[in-house]
């Protein structure tokens, strides 16, 4: 990274450089130069930062700002850029929505939480909260009095207008723009709809049966987890991660624990690492099982749900014996795991590994080769590799588009670098490819489990950690591979027992953001196929 630093320093003399505590190069730059730097970072073949991981909105009390985490798919390097402004009443930062398509929705999120306005963003609306919401909830001076923003059974006010802020002669001018065309026929799908997999709402403009545009309307399960974390101690923040993407609970826990352990310099025992990885892979199989079941049910094949849930129940039994819960496990903790494995854990996993290949064969026999399934899935909702990267669609959906984006391979954490498994990448990019990638990933997870089940090392399952966890001053970022894509978590500490800022970068927000792009021109019935194949979890994107 050193030569990149030199190169940028030559182009932008005002930029300053430092390494954050995770070892990621952080460039601090003024807002005036930010868009140019971003363009440079993306287009220069030496940096080629083509994947925007997340935008962390920040309130440092004296300043407001954003930290952009960028990744290069070519060089597999990461860097971050910090942009801050001092004006709290009218904070303006230039948008990068023209460089990374996903930035449009990430910037809307920052605007919603911090009130930072992004100049040139084509759609500057609130994302999760009502348009009449008073204040910006993640600012440090936000007034949480429920009398200001009461719970109301009156319908929320809605508008078909969105704002665009443009710079004209040194001044920022706000203009209004219609989301849909005047003569568009708009159909409302959701929030209470069995095929949206949760409470997501699509405002769909249709021309006959063809979709022209979809406005994704979220926030129906926005629970303000990030703000809640700021008032809790570090070990207490962990349990929320079970309730975001409730299928990847184990993996999300693992990610945040890795971050805390890195910050506290805690070495986790080998036994705890093996247990964590086994739990991750078990939950990946369970999650993909439920995906296949519900997806097939969306397409009309109800029987598959009963077949796949049979395997899922078997995995939940394994979890329950060890963790004591079927869904919200709260199992991984700082220093290891909460309690030791149940005595017959290994036998249960072996029994699972025995039945799993037979089951996968059965699923393929019933569904994958089915002519109706083929007609409904092949060539439907094609996402190209470039778009997948620009929209930050990671996980199985990204890999189905030919982007090798498995964090377990790119930035191996825990013991993944010692394990043998293949990254499943397909080139087609359609719904069938997304389905097949998940099917094949179950086999790979089983392969990982088979390598570990016979040699779970002895030792302690949890090392001693201080009773009161205090992170030193600094900032950390950690990526792990969730069931649906790259899950990122950012923590900034001011040296106390509570996080100053905890940002969750969920994989499902990009999955919902891309729906508009890949459904354009499809038939309305395909929306169910495409949405199902992306497999988003709404509480994960809303947080």
């Amino acid at each position: 990274m050193a030569n990149i630093q030199e190169k940028i320093a030559k182009l932008f003399p005002a930029a300053t450089f430092e390494n954050d505590n995770s070892g990621i190069l952080q460039i601090t730059v003024a807002d005036e130069q930010w868009h140019e730097l971003a363009k440079n970072l993306r287009d220069d073949p030496d940096t080629a930062m083509d994947y925007l991981v997340t935008i962390v909105g920040m309130d440092w009390v004296e300043k407001l700002g954003c930290i952009y985490y960028l990744m290069s798919t070519r060089h597999n390097t990461m860097c971050s850029v910090k942009v801050a402004v001092t004006d709290r009443d009218k904070p303006y930062i230039h948008s990068v929505a023209d460089l990374w398509r996903i930035a449009e929705i990430y910037e809307r999120e920052v605007y919603d939480f911090y009130g930072i306005v992004f100049i040139n963003n084509p759609d500057m609306r609130r994302l999760f909260l009502n348009i009449d919401w008073v204040g910006y909830p993640l600012r440090k001076d936000y007034d949480e009095d429920p009398a200001i923003n009461p719970v109301s059974i009156e319908n929320e006010r809605q508008t078909d207008l969105t704002s665009v802020y443009k710079e004209e002669g040194g001044k920022v001018v706000k203009t209004e723009r219609e989301i849909f065309h005047k003569d568009d026929f708009v159909v409302n799908i959701g929030p209470q709809h069995p095929a949206t997999h949760g409470v997501l709402r699509f405002r769909t403009a249709v021309d006959g049966e063809t979709i022209k545009k979809i406005d994704v309307y979220m926030g129906y399960i926005h629970r303000g987890v990030e703000k809640l974390c700021e008032s809790l101690q570090y070990p207490q923040t962990l349990h929320f991660l079970d309730r975001l993407d409730y299928f990847s609970g184990q993996i999300y826990h693992h990610g945040l624990c890795l971050l805390y352990e890195k910050a506290l310099n805690i070495e986790v025992s080998r036994r705890a690492q093996v247990i964590r990885v086994m739990m991750d892979e078990l939950s990946r199989i369970a999650s993909h099982c439920l995906f296949i079941g519900t997806y097939c049910m969306d397409l009309g094949a109800t029987t598959m749900l009963f077949y796949t849930l049979r395997v899922r129940e078997q995995i939940l039994d394994i979890f329950e014996k060890t963790c004591g819960a079927r869904m919200t496990f709260n199992y991984a903790c700082i220093g290891g795991v909460m309690q030791d494995l149940a005595p017959d854990f290994a036998d249960d996993v072996r029994a699972l590994l025995e039945v799993l290949p037979k089951n996968i064969k059965e699923y393929n026999k019933i569904f994958t080769g089915n002519v109706i399934a083929k007609n409904r899935m092949e060539g439907v909702g094609v996402l190209t590799r470039e778009d997948a990267i620009s929209y930050a669609v990671t996980g199985p959906s990204g890999r189905a588009s030919g982007w090798a984006c498995d964090i377990r391979k790119l930035q191996p954490y825990s013991i993944y670098d010692e394990l043998e498994f293949d990254e499943i990448v397909r080139e087609e990019g359609d719904s069938m490819a997304r389905f097949k990638v998940r099917m094949a990933e179950m086999e790979q997870s089983a392969r990982i489990l088979a390598q570990l089940v016979d040699n779970i090392p002895d030792g302690e399952y949890c090392v001693k950690v201080p009773k009161v966890v205090k992170l030193p001053k600094g900032q950390w970022f950690q990526l792990v591979e969730g069931c649906r894509g790259a899950f990122g978590v950012y923590v900034e500490s001011d040296g106390s027992t509570k996080p100053f800022r905890l940002k969750i970068a969920p994989p499902c927000l990009p999955l919902a953001a891309v729906v508009d792009h890949i459904t354009q021109g499809s038939k309305i019935a395909d929306l169910i196929t495409i949405g199902g194949s992306l497999d988003y979890i709404v509480p994960d994107m809303d947080r």
Binding site: F128, L129, N130, P137, Y142, E144, P146, N149, V151, S152, I153, E154, N155, E156, P191, Q192, H193, P194, G198, V199, G219, Y220, I221, H222, R223, G224, V225, K227, L228, S231, H239, F240, R243, Y246, F247, L290, T294, L305, F306, L309, R310, R312, E313, R326, M327, T328, V538, P539
Partner: protein, 202 residues
């Protein structure tokens, strides 16, 4: 009069005092034999074919899916016909957190349910806000929004707990009175008087 359930002995229930109280109320209000037998017939039918509305916002909804699958199999009890439209459903299993933006939508779904309608608050989020109670964007329990018949605690409740909860509901239905003074619907009317339906039908 005793409220009996085929699949569970009377002594195994944990809140018989509550049901006995309802029975007492029913007996005090008095009714003639013919109307009483009609009531019994109607309640027998209703309590054995409860159709849920598929309404799930978060984790609890996944346990509700498990409830429908082969292992827990709610079809045994006559609840398997989950309806996607509120107009065809008998009760609403509120599985998950209800946040500010969801409240008007949720209330409208309740208003759209056909009479007689029942609500089960499933999971700690629906009961009180649960782990998210202190959040700026979460309703602190659904009791202020709709009248609730049964509470099922847990985060999320196990499918067995959900079965127990719905069985409790069917027990409550068995002591309802269809003709004349219905003890449960009276309280619903009181509730609606305090929480009127929003005027604009938008």
């Amino acid at each position: 009069m005793e409220v009996t359930t085929k699949s569970m002995p009377y002594e195994a229930w944990k809140d018989n005092e509550y049901i006995e109280q309802l029975v007492k109320e029913l007996q005090e209000s008095g009714t003639n034999v013919i109307v009483g037998s009609f009531d019994k017939l109607i309640n027998w039918g209703r309590s054995n074919s409860l159709w849920p509305l598929t309404f799930a916002t978060s984790c609890c909804g996944i346990e509700f899916v498990s409830l429908g699958a082969a292992r827990f199999d709610m079809a045994r009890f006559g609840w398997e016909v989950a309806r996607a439209s509120p107009r065809q459903a008998d009760f609403m299993m509120v599985a998950g957190t209800i946040v500010n933006r969801m409240v008007p939508v949720f209330r409208r779904l309740y208003d759209q349910l056909a009479e007689p309608k029942y609500v089960i608050a499933c999971g700690s989020c629906a009961i009180s806000g649960g782990p998210f109670r202190k959040s700026y964007h979460v309703a602190k329990g659904i009791e202020d929004i709709v009248p609730v018949d049964v509470f099922v605690p847990g985060c999320p409740p196990r499918p067995e707990a959900m079965i127990y909860g719905i069985m409790q509901l069917s027990r409550k239905i068995k002591v309802e009175k269809f003709f004349g003074g219905v003890n449960r619907q009276e309280s619903q009317k009181e509730f609606l008087a305090k929480h009127p339906i929003p005027a604009d039908g938008e």
